[in-house]
Symmetry: C2
Subunit: 362 residues, 2 copies
């Protein structure tokens, strides 16, 4: 069996060790005679799986005790609605920073539930940078202030945490870079993300929310998506996506074995350095247009100088076992997503190919 | 490896053949070098998986062309909200028949979104029967009329399909018996169910909805839960739970190989006959209190005459590899859920044990 180097933006690579363990116990989870996915979510065995997953996630992210961790469904895009339904409350208005496609999706959806103020935007330069906080025009009366800390499509990442002076809770969509490095959870009111980048399979959503923000849900919020109700039920108000929770738990253990998030950050810095280095040293054959300080370590969009070579680039890459490199249709070109499970070896295989391709076609 | 006989109510048994195939291709789906769960949901390979799953489900249930099949998230309990959000529309009222715990859950949630008329109930006799349609008091102005066609906890099942004369769309929660026998889809406006009984792992929800009912969603419906928007996007408005869709597809193929739903019904009739036969022949040692005509073929709750033996019964059953027999806390006693993946062999192992236990303790 040959595993490809997987650069998909999501669903995306899962650590081979995690898949191998899931494979070994798929028909018989540790002597129970059944798969994890065949068990009652309220039975002792699965409850232990879920508790361990939460506990490991808390340890990895150093989540303070006054935050609840919820394992929900509906993905990041579902949260675009559920965040305002749960948090917009009586204020009826929220601040959003627009840094690209996913910020815009969140903004559009939030407008259903109240007034949205776009307090900063990088649309003026094609979403190639993060607007400095000095350029924001925040409203102290906002119910919350929303950012997308890694724009998967544009390849733009926050490497700083906004300092909020007016007490408005900071809410962040971290779908595509959570667990890639340590995080100061206490600076946020709520953090959310779909699992299908650094956590596990699609269909699982993680929400980390400060307890004092619970209980503000709009009366039409579906019960299974009411943060307070799910927090009170340990995310078991309805049947959770049990296999997803289990795989997330295996991934958290894999991260701990590799030294936690500081160690992952070092690897991710090396991976991103290798790939951006290759692009920048190509003499213009490849280019990435994002401000250097804001270049995402997880999603690296790049363009060939001669775009007529795009199809040939993808064909040759695929033939070398380098998969998922086509850019998102919203921006075109190429994109290499290099999440935790895509190792330095994969990135070096990609850069070796890129250099050869540039030499042949340059 | 010894697989237990799994009588869990859900999540529940998945066919061993389905798990074995998933296991074989977990790290390399058919030569792609990656797991199904690592692939882009918009790539050719996964799109084919999703299309095949939908096509096989359509074939199994003979779903007419004017119905959309949606693969969503949030489970049956999520649908308790999403059905009224999508279908209550301008009428602002709906009819519900109350046949037990899950009907009551649906009713309670629907009240958030409009007026609910409970047009029939079997609460008077502890939810041990299905009220005949002649006893219903339907409202012709209702946006829809809701039934739960199999009550998982009470073990009560509809073996007839209501004939709706006034044009009000019939909506059914079929979570716990869909695919157990053929179904006249055309008599319903909308059918929904969580996957974790007869379809696949938890985290996947199937909705089958008649096209003319689309486009009535409440303005606050989250986009990812708007039937019309998801129908227009082939359920890919957001990232679907891809591994769940894949496993559902494998289950649909397993059902087709076994002869489809008529063949499954024959097996399910035999299984239920064996188990209820054992209960009824026990001279009162075991009893099931449901009207014989309405006894569920999927969920068989039963009580020991001497309830002080409950713990011993469960202990001995577990020791014989018979798992998940404890009744739901709302009713107590025992419950054997005998979904499609729990075969006649498992039921016969259970009845053999039950007879022995009755002999030893009777």
């Amino acid at each position: 069996m040959q595993r490809t180097h997987n650069f998909s933006a999501g669903p995306s690579a899962i650590p081979t060790e995690v898949l191998a363990q899931a494979q070994a116990e798929l028909l018989d989870y540790r002597g129970t005679g059944m798969s994890v996915m065949e068990m009652s979510h309220r039975g002792k065995v699965f409850m232990e799986v879920a508790h361990q997953a939460e506990s490991d996630l808390r340890e990895l992210l150093a989540i303070p005790a006054n935050y609840k961790v919820l394992f929900l469904q509906g993905g990041g895009k579902g949260e675009f609605s559920l965040v305002p339904m749960n948090l917009m409350g009586v204020a009826g208005r929220a601040d959003y920073v627009n840094t690209g496609h996913w910020s815009e999706g969140a903004i559009q959806e939030a407008r259903k539930y109240g007034a949205v103020d776009v307090i900063a935007s990088s649309a003026d330069r094609g979403f190639t940078y993060v607007p400095a906080q000095t350029a924001w025009s925040p409203n102290p009366g906002a119910a919350y202030r929303h950012i997308c800390t890694n724009e998967t499509i544009h390849g733009v990442e926050y490497f700083w945490t906004p300092e909020i002076g007016d007490g408005v809770p900071l809410v962040a969509d971290m779908s595509s870079h959570i667990l890639s490095r340590p995080l100061e959870v206490s600076k946020f009111g709520c953090i959310y993300g779909g699992a299908q980048k650094n956590i596990g399979p699609s269909g699982l959503t993680v929400v980390i929310v400060r307890e004092d923000l619970l209980g503000r849900a709009h009366p039409l919020t579906p019960s299974v998506f009411d943060y307070a109700q799910q927090a009170a039920s340990d995310s078991m108000l309805n049947t959770p996506p049990t296999f997803g929770v289990y795989l997330a738990g295996l991934t958290f253990q894999w991260l701990k074995k590799r030294g936690g998030l500081a160690a992952m950050e070092a690897v991710n810095v090396a991976k991103a350095g290798e790939l951006y280095g290759c692009i920048d040293a190509s003499g213009g054959f490849y280019r990435n247009t994002v401000e250097k300080a804001d270049r995402s370590r997880m999603n690296v969009p790049f363009f060939l100088k001669d775009e007529s070579l795009n199809a040939e680039f993808l064909r040759q890459a695929e033939a070398r076992g380098l998969s998922g490199l086509k850019g998102h249709k919203a921006v075109g070109g190429m994109r290499a997503s290099i999440y935790n499970a895509t190792g330095l070896d994969a990135v070096m295989a990609l850069t070796a190919f890129m250099r050869e391709f540039a030499q042949r076609h340059g």
